[in-house]
Symmetry: C2
Subunit: 228 residues, 2 copies
DNA sequence: GTCGGGAGGCTGTAGGACAGATTTCGACGT
DNA sequence: ACGTCGAAATCTGTCCTACAGCCTCCCGAC
């Protein structure tokens, strides 16, 4: 998946060690020098991998003591494992349904006028991109994100971003989606977004959540027409 | 927040550079050697910070070219900014409401018998910990996580883990919560969990979601009695 | 048996070196 | 004047050595 960088191989190798030796949380893994020797690379490279492992919450480094397993990677690393694209896509839609519907609801309740302006800007950008037959994935995402920003909830926003990273990864690893869209689909996509934005404008939380759910269900159908 | 590691300061400093100089996505930031010189540290330390930045999706390193800003950092970095603990805690509860209620619903629909056994194990562990007056935060989390695992949805699980990382970070940066709990609170906490688990056992999705929402609302009240 | 101290191991950090990739820019040919 | 090509400058990726400060563990003293 990620070749070319030695540190990536180190990352994978260390995860392999944790898996194969069934290291449980709290256990120590070999020292940086030992790992470097085992993998045939320098200690600096192993350190880079360990920094990422720690940043991912899998290990934890204690100065003078060593690196320790924090969580079981078999669970934590599900995201890093090759997965069935169809199932993964369906899965992300399940998350988006609850998360984004609630985002729309909260945005309808709390949006400031500045945030409303941001949403409007994002919507018009999306419209321009769609009408000029661009893929417009980024513009679509920016609109959804402007809505998430309007929740005025940092936890919501970071969770949202995290989910989007997954979506991107799945799409990148999976199918190419930018098929040509017939005009009626483009019109429908625009209408769905407008319904969401309008509900947020008039501050109707239930309508906003409903419109978002409808939009996502339509999006899923367009992505995977053969249904659930 | 986490001092003692030079690499953390490097991370913060680089973020500061991106912010102050208003670097937009695609722009190059100073070379590793230049950054090391600016911060007065070795290049290896700067590299560690850059590895984490890249792992966080904020920058991207291109061999032979440099490190580049990837996404709008002013938005992306909301999570790394010091935040008001009370507002942040309320925020995470908003996320947990929708995410975990849906997890309970999906778990009720899909749990295998093995997953049900895992949930039961986690519940009895939690009961044991609570009855012996332990803080039992970890056991509590393990039960919630066992439920999330039963959704059989990788996206759900990773999103769940991400949210938990935030909760941990906020709690670590904020107040100490392990106040002494009177017996009736312990009994209530156990009952709430049992209601969730039972609903999953008899595969009643709505009841599971409702029980989870109730449990979280009670938890929030216990954490912040002075209400919303 | 207990307690303390020391030795060894480990991470954190520094600095230097080189290979290979990329960008830049000037020289050269047309 | 313009396009093309190549060389130099720059940068990341990798390796090496070294040492300070911290942690663990074991051994010896009591």
């Amino acid at each position: 998946m990620n070749e070319g960088r030695l540190a990536d191989r180190a990352y994978t190798n260390i995860v392999g060690i944790i898996r194969e030796q069934k290291l449980v949380p709290g256990e120590r893994l070999p020292s940086e020098a030992r790992l470097a020797e085992m993998f045939g690379m320098s200690r600096g490279i192993v350190r880079e991998a360990l920094v990422r492992l720690a940043s991912d919450g899998i290990t934890e480094a204690r100065r003078g003591a060593g690196s320790f397993v924090k969580r079981r990677p078999s669970e934590r690393l599900a995201a890093h494992v090759p997965i069935d694209t169809i199932a993964a896509t369906l899965g992300t839609y399940e998350v988006r349904f609850v998360l984004e519907a609630e985002a729309a609801r909260l945005a309808a309740m709390r949006r400031s006028s500045e945030q409303m302006a941001e949403i409007d800007t994002a919507l018009s950008r999306l419209a321009a991109a769609l009408l000029s037959s661009n893929p417009a994935h980024d513009e679509d995402w920016q609109l959804h994100r402007a809505i998430a920003l309007s929740t005025a909830n940092a936890a919501f926003i970071t969770t949202f971003d995290h989910m989007h990273d997954q979506v991107e990864r799945i799409l990148k690893a999976g199918v190419e989606i930018s098929r040509s869209r017939p005009p009626e689909v483009i019109r429908a996509m625009l209408q769905e977004h407008e319904m969401i934005v309008d509900a947020i404008r008039v501050q109707d939380p239930d309508a906003a959540a409903l419109a978002m759910r409808w939009h996502l269900s339509q999006g899923r159908k367009r992505l995977m027409p053969d249904g659930l």
